[in-house]
Amino acid sequence: MISNGKSKTVIELHVNGDSHEVTVRSGDTLLDTLREQLGLSGAKRACENGDCGACTVLADGKPIHSCLSLAIEASDQSLMTIEGLMGSPIQQVFVNKWAIQCGFCTPGFILNCHALATEHPNASDEVIEEWMSSNLCRCTGYQEIREAVQSVVRASGNG
């Protein structure tokens, strides 16, 4: 048994290269734990239903909805939040392309884009669309986001 369902459980989360001991309820989502215990507020709470992608983080390099993951099941994974990409070239590309607007969805898009460029450095436009359709932008700034992602992917392919 990892959690007895009555008292909180101490687990270790590996986030952005650091290990953190956190005390969680079995029902705490990864999103709750990152935001409220580790102060990593880059992952946004929005639909909490896996529909919008605002809470996207990377688990072992793969994008996941942190609202649809329990903190307790993430303890053996290497996690990355948007705070782990602070000051990165990809962040600057999104700024340069004006792929930001209100900024609420931006962390999710950037993390998804980072995983895509890492896994598929020569991704076609079709693959880019498939990956990016996991994220919604309510400002509807999709054209600028598309250009930013294409730019990042092309740069990673050339590198």
């Binding site: 369902g5 909805h65 993951s69 099941e73 498939e130 359709s133 996991s134």
Partner: protein
């Protein structure tokens, strides 16, 4: 956040998972097996589902298998839809699961979870119904057993209390046959299907399985007899297939029954047209 607490177990063998389930059930607890967890978290958050304990299956090595073993393709129940979509073994299954949910969600949704879903679509089962595949089931009082999929899946996954799907076993002869997968949605690519069809040709006969059109996924011999009767004109085939559907056509906000039937006929026509060369 899930508004209730539950015991969380992560066994490392199938036997341990089954024993844990039995032990907890004997204590009168509501127990659930847990794979990707997307459906559990979604429903638990809004109190549509509850559990005293969950047993996370992902610590069991067999449930993560995705490989050829002799003449069989073995797929563990905790393999994610993206892992299947990116694997080279069974292109029809890869294409079908690629149409389920969005890319990020598919990193969490598992094939076992899709087959056991409470939602009506369960599209991952469609290619499996075409292959006469078997499944390895564990956790029950009788231990592990290998049975034809159709013995435990009719409309939905019907396992004995305490049992869980361990692996799917598909004969290699089905993996690279001519196939078609079509999914039609009302608005966007990421949506539930109005109609989803998986089809393949085996021994010059088309096999077809459907989701979306009726309230459960199905494959029906009577429909395949009509589809493979080349003496019928196409229009007559479509009419007869619609007449042989096993249940009423779904009529809901996503699509009226009339609209779904229209889409279904077009999908059927497109599928047969695409595969009729392989019938000759």
């Amino acid at each position: 956040m899930i508004p209730f607490d539950f015991e969380y177990y992560k066994p490392t063998t199938a036997a341990e998972a089954g024993e844990t389930y039995q032990h907890l059930q004997e204590q009168g607890k509501t127990v659930m097996y847990y794979n990707g967890g997307t459906e559990f978290i979604t429903l638990a958050r809004v109190n549509q589902i509850t559990a005293d304990a969950i047993i996370d299956l992902k610590g069991i090595p067999e449930v993560r298998a995705l490989e050829l073993q002799g003449d069989l393709l073995v797929i563990g129940c905790s393999v994610t839809l993206n892992q299947i979509a990116e694997s080279p073994y069974f292109p029809l299954l890869a294409q079908t699961v690629k149409g389920i949910a969005d890319h990020t969600s598919r990193n969490k949704i598992t094939i076992g979870g899709n087959l056991g879903s409470r939602l009506a679509y369960r599209e991952g089962v469609l290619p499996l119904l075409l292959t006469d595949c078997k499944v390895k089931v564990a956790g029950g009082r009788s231990g592990e057993r290998v049975v034809p999929l159709t013995q435990v899946f009719e409309k939905q996954l019907n396992l004995e209390p305490g049992e869980f799907l361990l692996q799917i076993l598909i004969d290699q002869q089905y993996l690279n046959l001519p196939f078609v997968h079509l999914k039609k949605t009302k608005h966007s690519k990421v949506d539930y299907p109005l109609v989803s069809v998986a089809a393949l040709v085996k021994d010059k006969a088309i096999r077809m399985a459907f989701s979306g059109i009726c309230e459960y996924p199905f494959r029906l011999g009577e429909i395949e007899e009509v589809v493979n009767n080349t003496t019928f004109a196409r229009k007559e085939q479509l009419k007869q297939v619609v007449a042989k559907l096993p249940a009423a056509i779904v009529d809901d906000l996503q699509g009226s029954a009339g609209y779904r039937e229209f889409v279904f006929r077009n999908v059927l026509r497109e599928t047969i047209d695409a595969l009729e060369w392989a019938q000759k």
